[in-house]
Symmetry: C2
Subunit: 441 residues, 2 copies
């Protein structure tokens, strides 16, 4: 029996996962709107046999703090995910194409169409990362002074996904005889009108795209709230997470899997994939040097701004080289106290503290040789903390190439990763079943 | 001085412009979701030096009349335009990419982003055909029992386009120094927040995509109502029309051009392009045979259904081989009386009548040799009935290839069409100026 294999996604931030990536000498500073750059990244990831490339998204940013923002690249000026992935579809042949799209400020009919279309264009390689929008900068672009409450956001999201999956099932798989002789283009008994009337949406259908090659495009979810986890349990094939230590990751993993039975699904039908920012070096010291070089590129004003967000208070008045002050975090979120504890434990300066947040942006950071990194990944995989990982190279394209050239062979030699694609569609490669049409016997 | 050149668009319906195209022996019946087919069409059109390919759109169809519908292909099951054109962007290098997208059931922020993104992906070749949605099948997919009134639709459309063009101007052209040394990614003085608060929309901005290579993607309009014409006069670079005789076309052309002065624009800044379905043959008889063959492929029930739409009454009870009956068209639209007049003049049967509607679907039909077709196009062009044409080949891919191989050289030899692309962007090829950023001195 062959060993189970881990799944890998490549998270394509424009210049890389690290906050200061764009300032690195090897970074492509104009990556956000450089299509050649993305074609290169997609092909490197496909050479590495990644399951998918993944594009995050946010519908805007606030320009209030331009003095800080002007040093950063994230969310500022980059391709829209669906147009980007459609362009990459014909530049690749096996890799999955995963886009974040929000249920808060888009319409279910348009969503169903876009993903069905991308799935046809790519021959069954599309995936939808279902999110809700919870930032003020987004709501203000859509005529709302305040964004939806968390409960309302997820209630809308659940209904939204019901509609989208329902629209994907408008047509049975064999609905189109396209018989020129008799003049019958489609079999009218295999056309199903949705007629959805719900609390938040009313969508008649039918969808004007044939059933996607994957039946339903792969559904990804990354929320950690209760309603988000229920949405995952009911619909998701992949769950992205941000866990920084194995104990928490195992707990999260078990929680996700435990919710599936309620919906008649088994544990294999959902793949839990935490993020990992791997800094690879030929030696440990080499890797550490790479990491330090990047950390030093974080402009102090940006680091302080990020630290202020973590602490939920203004930290810009403190000397960056002084010890981290023991501020009062009463009433702040738990991350503020965690930061104080870490700073105390490690005798951090303010700069040390903001560097710790800048690095992985909330994701697991591993610095070491290919073997060190594979050790960690193997541990998480075998200990049921992960079914795979969403790999977040610190700087593109170099760190993705290095991951492919150094870490992938190490994982393969341990029997932990594929040596060729198993199938043609993303579902086939991920090992999640193609949903039957509801009318199929 | 070189002669002025005509502009050409290639209108890519999946199987072709003719209602029965999909039944033709050379048609690609599964064209609607066959990406290889579209890649081939785009490349043929680019070989023919067309200014652009154009994709129509409609957000659904009504499934009430499945017995008729099942014989047809239009609007039923095909790619979504933005994903399709993004996929084609990297398969072509010069041709413009024009997509229809509605202002009725989408959000201005998302619209601005998609087109800006496609413009960056394609290096400045995107175009937006601005439409409003006026069919019940569309409104029912977006939670509305009734579609917007015409006045409201266009009032929304005008505000929508104001917002989208405003968002495209979020960033000045040189807003991104991306200076790794100093750590300045963008120049914060070159970022402009829109802060739009209007009657129908409230959109703060800024847009999170850099200014498009074309400044603004090309704007196309095809409406013929008063408010549609005002929208054209203010914003459009291209106007598509459906005119079947030169006198009406000249009148429409003069009308469009006469409205520009009010907005400080000159007549060259808008290109009027009527649709033309050209049926090309080696001889006139050859062309006529081709046309007749297609006309015979229209299933009677579909022809009768279309005729019923034209007559605004049920025509299915009449014998298709009997003379067209002199029904009472009091209170019906003018097209019903026009049909009766044509039928009487030509002694048409019911079948002849429905064939006349099936052919060009409201567009100008020319049947003849390449020289005949070029004669007609030249006449319209020199007589100021058209600045160019939206070419609608009856059946793909053959009739597009024939147009490129037979009609294009004829137009070129007359000095009426380019022999190589003039520029890199669609605006450069069309000869419409790149809009200056509002903050540019």
């Amino acid at each position: 029996m062959t060993k189970p294999k881990m799944r890998l996604g490549a998270f394509l931030q424009p210049t890389g996962q690290h906050l200061a990536a764009w300032r690195h000498p090897n970074a492509v500073a104009d990556a956000g709107t450089n299509i050649g750059h993305y074609v290169e990244l997609a092909r490197i990831a496909e050479r590495g046999l990644f399951d998918m490339i993944f594009i995050a998204d946010r519908l805007g940013f606030l320009a209030e703090d331009k003095a800080i923002l002007k040093h950063t690249v994230r969310n500022i000026a980059h391709f829209e995910p669906m147009t980007l992935l459609s362009a990459l579809a014909l530049q690749t042949s096996h890799i999955g194409l995963a886009a974040t799209q929000t249920t808060s400020y888009m319409e279910p009919f348009n969503m169903a169409r876009k993903f069905a279309s991308l799935d046809h264009i790519s021959g069954g390689r599309s995936a939808w990362n279902v999110v809700t929008s919870n930032y003020e900068d987004e709501s203000l672009n859509f005529g709302r002074e305040q964004h939806y409450s968390p409960a309302e956001r997820y209630e809308r999201a659940m209904e939204f996904v019901e509609i989208v999956t329902g629209l994907w099932d408008t047509w049975e798989d064999d609905a189109f005889p396209q018989d020129k002789e008799s003049g019958v283009f489609f079999d009218d008994e295999k056309l199903h009108v949705l007629n959805h009337k719900g609390k938040h949406f009313s969508v008649k259908g039918p969808l004007n795209v044939a059933r996607p090659p994957q039946g339903w495009p792969v559904i990804i979810q990354a929320g950690t709230s209760e309603p988000a986890k229920e949405l995952s349990a009911r619909f998701a094939n992949v769950v992205f997470s941000a866990e920084q230590d194995i104990a928490a990751a195992k707990k999260f993993y078990a929680d996700v899997k435990s919710r599936l039975a309620k919906y008649g699904r088994n544990e294999d039908e959902i793949k839990v994939m935490p993020g990992i920012m791997a800094v690879v070096g030929k030696t440990k010291a080499d890797a550490q040097r790479k990491f330090d070089q990047l950390q030093d590129l974080v402009p102090p004003e940006v680091g302080l701004n990020l630290l202020s967000q973590t602490m939920q208070m203004d930290m810009s008045k403190y000397d960056v080289d002084a010890p981290m002050p023991e501020v009062d975090v009463t009433g702040k979120w738990s991350r503020a106290q965690m930061m104080l504890d870490l700073a105390k434990l490690n005798n951090w300066t303010v700069k040390d503290a903001y560097k710790s947040v800048s690095a992985g942006r909330g994701h697991w950071v591993v610095v070491g040789t290919a073997s060190d990194i594979a050790d960690q990944m193997e541990l998480w995989f075998t200990e049921k903390a992960a079914d795979g990982f969403n790999v977040m190279p610190p700087v593109f394209p170099g760190d993705l190439s290095e991951f492919v050239d150094l870490v992938i062979p190490e994982l393969q030699s341990r029997g932990l990763f594929r040596t060729s694609y198993e199938g043609k569609t993303l579902r086939e490669n991920l090992g999640v079943a193609r949903p039957k049409h509801f009318a199929a016997s």
